[in-house]
Symmetry: C2
Subunit: 332 residues, 2 copies
């Protein structure tokens, strides 16, 4: 296994933080039993972990550079949804074999994104086995500014960043569920393979938004998490949910399926009081990401009422969505 | 996948920390995009991650309760080797199917150890796929008291805790490499399946030991990490390395093979100045773990000299160990 060790050293350890000596802030990276890390003064560490498995979260023939990007991006997206500033990550993975070209491309995609966000590799583990990637990511956030799922209030606006549904449209093309022209197909594929974590927006929304999360499993299911946690209802204009020009060329029910239950979008869905509309727009401008108001949070109607989403179409008429029929790449 | 979700909720989320509301110290557990965690005031978080893969780190027919114990134990052992106090962990795993009896036993083994060390589950991820367990563990340690690999000094004594080699002896029995009577075989198997992380000893060695690590890949290879990091040599009495009465019944070369290159011991190997011998013994007493002095650290002999271990037998004669021929369970 010497060749595997030297490949890992070559592609990972040399670009990792704190190696071999301790950094100015006392942090310690790869090479000891543990890494040492502290949040910024007065802040806490926001921590999230995600495991990606071949055949489930990505296909065996995925571009390894894109996989390196996405494996970290989905974790950074959780930091964005908390309003946290990325600091560091650990990477554990099992690989069937040490393929130099694959590792070179994978690490390139990984570190390009990591370095863009100042997020240092501080530890990890590598082993033989079926391809599996487990990243744990660390950010710093003042606890009172953290964008939590249970912080929505009745009367809040509901917002989403960017556009939803392109990743699901790309998956549908790979699966042969629908077609698109080459340019649109490439754009959908890019959305699926190279999501951009909304770190800058999450930071800009500190003190502006109330509840937030990232849309990883589809808007319908994810918004429901905010409602469950906050014990509230929502009314959402299904046709106001922002979508790309490419997605608008597909049939309306496909558009709705992709935008409302598509998954893998990694945009932020958040709530904010109506008085904060200008501040939310400003946060979007500052972060360079469009933000769109899609609905309203309301109180439960009675003691027997349960958190739920009331969908409306563009004309304001109630819309019955059989989410049973919806699916997304993350089946679990 | 509803049944899988409900099983996970039943076996994991209910025993996790901070759910659903924030704890008194501001920490936040399972249920949001991120957990929130801070080290103790003035300390840093010690962080380690390990991935365990079926067929490589454990056999398919392993007792799931023992696997739950071991998956966390090997991570806690890294905290022990840093002198850190356990605080929390995340668990990501992929499972081929949601087997209720298996998950019940696995979680029982996991939480029994976690609760014994006050280590709370604060986040995780679950997916379908070949069995793979990835745990990331968090402890708190004053940075100046952390037991680092690069802190050994010439003249230091070399110590190990407990006994070494029983886990490798147990693996040898499973592999049919050698035999033992039923009681000894059970004792070896217990060492292999249920290692005890030396948390109390790591804490007691703060300010007493200099360098430390946990013996996971075999003493010869692991001690070499301290030498490489500290740029020093070592002389070790191979026959002074502590071993169990059961292991002493096997042939001497098997004893040496198991104690020096066995792996999976999870005892601590550490260095301390000779003036600290009483303090080291006291730390062992306090932690309830025997500690044994096995050798001495020395300076490199010239600019061309490289970190290495000089082995001696019980009579002080040089011993040539062909470590090439040694192996252990962790082939990577």
């Amino acid at each position: 296994m010497l060749s595997e060790f030297s490949l890992i050293e070559r592609f990972f350890a040399r670009r990792a933080a704190g190696q071999p000596s301790v950094a100015a802030d006392g942090s310690l990276g790869i090479g000891d039993d543990c890494a040492l890390l502290a949040p910024r003064a007065g802040e806490m560490l926001a921590i999230s972990t995600d495991m990606l498995v071949e055949g489930r979260h990505f296909f065996a023939d995925v571009d390894p550079e894109a996989l390196g990007h996405k494996a970290l991006a989905v974790n950074l997206s959780d930091l964005a949804a908390m309003g946290a500033q990325p600091q560091a990550f650990t990477l554990a993975f099992s690989l069937p074999k040490a393929d130099e070209a694959w590792l070179a491309a994978f690490s390139e995609g990984l570190f390009a994104l990591a370095e863009r966000h100042g997020c240092a590799l501080i530890g990890g583990d590598t082993t033989g086995g079926p391809l599996n990637l487990c990243i744990t990511v660390f950010g710093s956030v003042p606890p009172q500014a953290a964008l939590r799922r249970d912080a929505a209030q009745a009367g809040d606006d509901i917002w989403v960043s960017g556009t939803l549904g392109d990743a699901r449209a790309g998956l549908g093309i790979q699966r042969g569920e629908w077609q698109a022209d080459a340019a649109d197909a490439a754009s959908f594929r890019r959305a699926l393979e190279r999501p951009e974590p909304r770190i800058a927006l999450g930071l800009a929304l500190r003190g502006v938004a109330r509840a937030a999360l990232d849309v990883s499993d589809g808007l319908a299911g994810d918004l429901k998490h905010i409602l469950d946690r906050s014990k509230l209802r929502a009314t959402v204009d299904a046709d106001a949910v922002p979508r790309s020009a490419a997605l608008r060329k597909l049939p309306l029910d496909t558009q709705r399926r992709c935008t409302l239950a598509g998954g893998d979008d990694y945009e932020l869905c958040f709530t904010a009081p109506p008085a904060a509309r200008v501040a939310v727009e400003n946060a979007g401008h500052k972060a360079g990401v469009p933000v769109t108001r899609i609905g309203t949070i309301s109180a439960l109607q009675s003691a027997a009422d349960r958190p739920a989403i009331d969908w409306r179409d563009a004309a304001g008429a109630p819309l019955t969505l059989t989410l049973q029929g919806f699916d997304h790449f993350h089946a679990d």
